[in-house]
Amino acid sequence: KGDAAAQKQAEPAVLQPTPQPKDDFQEELVVRPLHSGDIYASFQFRTLWETDFMRGNKVSHYRLFPKSLGQVISKFSVRELHISFTQGYWRTMQWGQPYLPSPPGAELWVWFQDSVTDVDATWKELTNVLSGIFCASLNFIDSTNTVQPSASFKPLGIGNVTDHRFLRYATLPREIVCTENLTPWKKLLPCGSKAGLAVLLKSEKLFHSSFHSQAVHIRPVCQDWQCKTTSWELRQTLNVVFDLHNSGQGKREWSLFKMFSRTLTEACPLASSSKIYIDITDNPEQFELSPATSLLSQAMVLGDRRTFSVYDLTQQDTFGNCTPFCDMLRPLLHAERYVAGYGLQTGEIHTLMYNHHPYRSFPVLQLDSVPWYLRLYIHTLTVTSKGKDNKPSYIHYQPSKDRVRPHLLEMLVQLPPNSVTEVTVQFERALLKWTEYTPDPNHGFYVGSSVISSLVPSTVAMDTNSTRERPLFSSFFPCKEESSYFVRVYTEPLLVNLPTPDFSMPYNVICLTCTVVAVGYGSLYNLLTRSFQIEEPSPGLAKRIANVIRKMRGVPPL
């Protein structure tokens, strides 16, 4: 199979100056011992690429950025894409705020370019392609669980288009996350799981945890503070909470090997930075890190100044263990939700939003997307704080259409200091058609988490300089003011029982109807076709016996 064309070329040793790559890869792991004794590990991988996907140019050349996602961006004219898969529920009160919040199940929200004409068709196609890329059932996203929030999900990257016609948001609270979702996610990393921090991502350990969440965020960001050049940022995050109490030997000590059953030997050679941060803010004297590191770093995260010891993997390091005891900053914003009521006809959704700040009140945006089969009675919507009526300053409500679209309720509510605000709304359960029930209808039907976004007043001054070199985990949500920081809180998803019929009923009904029809028809038919005639009344019993006797005697009958 020799190719003749190759022979004619000699091999000149070309040594041009190597071009500066336009892409950059960083990786980071934050380990935070939690108040409850669990260990929170958060991986972030960021690929920056200075390119323009929207060019008409058909040729596209990828180096660090994964080709499959690049093709998705350019084909579907995506401006921002955020997708997360989560198993388990983040316990805000015990664990504090996560670096990147996500609701249980799958969540997808996408901003399209304003050049897209048919957003719904593009969205449908995009979800199908993404479900292939991530091996998830995102193809179940359709118009009945897609909403267009008007205020809650603003673009996180640059760009001032805020016309929510180009935004689509959907959740699949039922989605179960497992290894088959992790493998394609790892494949998007330039080093795969062969080198760098991704070596630690071993699925047996990751899914043997209290909480697991993996996400992909794509957005355009500024390259410099003047924003002359823009680049695309792909941020892959993976958050996991290990319960070392249960799995460990009861000792309050941990190591990377105990958590992940792997150790780190090298950084990813393609990464420009590869760092591990250990949160030692709470009671640093009780920590004993081995090997010790002299690098300390302070970062403003979620309204709190925290101290981290930093291990730079590009230097040679090995790891030991340490013993944590710490006290946690109480989260200022917290929310929970439940269904109340009895019977299978009506019910009531209660959402509780806690403001733990001692003296500041702040506004929150609440977003609820409720499937159409719960018919919300919007006139029963009440918002109360401290026993008093709290009128929302902004309400955006889009009623549902049966089998077409869900309810969308967005409210801007002011939370008074140190209070609980309760939002209640009543609903009626709809009867579904018998083919619309899931295979296990008695399990119940999921209602996605309610999303609460807010700018929470901060106790320390936040860093607003967006271009300064900061750890990845503290730089995701853009920070515009010094006195507050952005927080998004997801409530629990709800599981609601709907009235379920006896599923053999259709057949029974068919049989019963047919029988009734046949019986009615039969008697009618008999009436119509039988010929009626007068019959001689039959002789009485005595006469018949007498006749028999007479016959035996040879006498003619009566």
Binding site: K75, K194, G522, T529, R530
Partner: protein, 560 residues
């Protein structure tokens, strides 16, 4: 009175039976039938018996010194030859060669007086451009110095060929003898430049199960991708060892310089899109063996089949389209396994250090140990020589796309293809076989769809499917007609439309909405209704019939 009462009962039974048969049965039939739009079944059946006729136009031009002045007067004449070949019982091929003879114009004479064949070819091309699918053969005298000694036919870069008249055809022979001498040779030129029977039967392989003569022709037929309206070309740089090698390849410039001209030329045949990516830590599936005699690692030809699989998992499919993907991989072996050479079947080294996999793509191993220097300091920055790489990939691309460079018969000289990498006549050749292949594929798709729909009565046929089928049939008929007329460009266009429409119809998801109810369930539902309704009707009908028969018998008895 007794009789009339009986009669009334009988009439009632009969009329109920009549109502059930006239109203009930059609109503039941109408409400339970599946919607099936009308399909052009008779036309599809016609297409199942495919009669393909390929027409090729050849213009033979006599240069000065090949014909005598008397013969010149008779010369503007046309000869038509037909050849018919049956492939199997359903497919028949007919070739029609139309040769028009004329003498050269003065300008053409000037062009033919150029010093070399290549220059003559170029200046003949500037004189007139022959349409796609046709050929011009210039017959030059034996004494002409245009061609080297042992070359009789020169095939240019465009659609022209120079044919040197044989030594036995000295002036003085009659025109008939001359034509009889030329005709088989023109046919030979045509088979090289347009189509040969072998190409066409290979293109029909979708319709016809034929047993090729030897193994090699099977391999040839299997190598090229199937005809498709578009292809995705993906270049992947595999760097299994990013710790020691920092690779730089100017793929963007290389694609512009080497690949794009070819694809622009091929644009009538298909649409192409090009991507490239770099994959790190991508290993081959086989551990290369260390060859102590050459102090190098070798990959055996037998193990090459196992190389691709683990890499393919990393390549990723194209998310944005469903066209077939041509993969070209450039593998830079890691520092520990370097240099790496591919060994052929006879233990000899493959000079290009590359191989291709039929209908999949090509892999090239690029050794970089020459860049290490005396004391290598890892990671080493390496600029890949794209000219060398693209030379190999271009050759593989031509093979995989079916631009076959079959060896010409003895005495033929084929001009080197220019900067575009593809001569006009090669494109024509590809278009001929692609048109035939498209027609063959589309007819098979449409006939098997019709067969399937005919066999399974429960499939719903929506109007849009019927429309797709009709448009596929129309395009097919047009494509066949254009092939017959010799309009190659239109034929390819219509055959592409036919293949698109037929595939769209065949893979329409609505065909899956099969209204499938097993017979036992149908009976379970119908019996509670039908049994109590039909039994009395049947019984009373039987009774009426038996009574009528008895009455007739009684009448017969009375008569006797």
């Amino acid at each position: 009175m007794f009789l009339s009462e009986r009669r009334r009962g009988q009439l009632a039974a009969l009329s109920i039976a009549a109502v059930v048969i006239i109203v009930g049965v059609p109503l039941w039939w109408r409400t339970t039938e599946t919607y099936r739009a009308w399909l052009p079944v008779s036309q599809i059946k016609e297409l199942a018996k495919l009669q393909l006729q390929l027409s090729a136009d050849v213009e033979a031009v006599f240069a000065r010194g090949t014909v005598t002045p008397e013969q010149q007067k008779k010369v503007p004449l046309t000869q038509t030859q037909e050849e018919e070949r049956a492939i199997d019982e359903d497919t028949a091929l007919r070739y029609r060669y139309e040769t028009r003879y004329r003498t050269a114009t003065i300008m053409e004479e000037d062009a033919l007086n150029q010093p070399s064949a290549a220059e003559a070819d170029l200046s003949l091309h500037t004189l007139s451009e022959s349409p796609c699918g046709s050929l011009v053969v210039y017959v030059i005298p034996e004494s002409s110095s245009l061609l080297p000694e042992d070359v009789n036919v020169y095939i240019g870069q465009r659609r022209t060929a120079l044919l040197r008249i044989g030594p036995q055809m000295r002036v003085g022979k009659t025109l008939e003898q001359l034509l009889a001498h030329l005709e088989p040779r023109i046919r030979q030129v045509l088979q090289v430049m347009s189509f040969s029977h072998n190409d066409i039967t290979a293109a029909l392989s979708d319709r016809v199960r034929f047993s090729p003569d030897n193994k090699e022709s099977i391999a040839d037929n299997m190598r090229a991708f199937k005809s498709s309206p578009g292809y995705e070309i993906t270049f992947s740089l595999l760097n299994p060892d990013p710790k020691s090698h920092r690779l730089h390849w100017d793929i963007e410039g290389a694609v512009q310089t080497y690949i794009q001209p070819l694809l622009t030329k091929l644009s009538p045949v298909a649409n192409f899109s090009i991507d490239s990516q770099t994959l790190y830590y991508a290993m081959l599936g086989v551990n290369p063996r260390f060859d102590t005699s050459r102090s190098a690692y070798t990959l055996n030809a037998d193990s090459l089949a196992h190389v691709i699989n683990p890499v393919e998992a990393r390549l990723g499919s194209n998310a944005a389209s469903s066209n077939p993907v041509l993969n070209f991989l450039l593998y830079v072996p890691d520092a520990q396994h370097s240099p790496l050479y591919i060994q052929g079947r006879k233990k000899q080294e493959v000079p290009s250090n590359a191989f291709h996999s039929p209908r999949w793509g090509g892999i090239m191993v690029y050794n970089v140990n020459g860049f290490y220097g005396s004391e290598p300091e890892f990671p080493v920055d390496i600029n890949i020589n794209m000219a060398k790489v693209m030379g190999v990939f271009l050759a593989q691309l031509r093979l995989l796309l079916g631009v076959q460079s079959s060896t010409p018969p003895p005495g033929f000289l084929v001009a080197r293809c220019g900067s575009t990498g593809l001569a006009d006549w090669e494109l024509d050749r590809l278009m001929w076989s692609r048109s035939v292949e498209n027609v063959a594929t589309a007819t098979t798709t449409i006939t098997s769809l019709a067969q399937l729909l005919d066999q399974i009565g429960n499939i719903v046929i929506n109007d849009n499917i019927a429309q797709q089928v009709s448009s596929a049939v129309t395009s097919l008929q047009l494509a066949v007609a254009e092939l017959e007329a010799g309009n190659l460009g239109f034929a390819l266009q219509y055959s592409k439309e036919a293949i698109l429409a037929s595939e769209k119809a065949f893979f329409d998801p609505s065909l899956l909405h099969l209204l499938y109810f097993p017979d036992d369930q149908k009976f379970a539902i119908y019996i509670p209704l039908f049994l109590p309704m039909c039994v009395p009707i049947l019984l009373s009908l039987l009774k009426i019939v038996s009574e009528a028969r008895q009455r007739r018998r009684e009448k017969q008895a009375k008569k006797d």
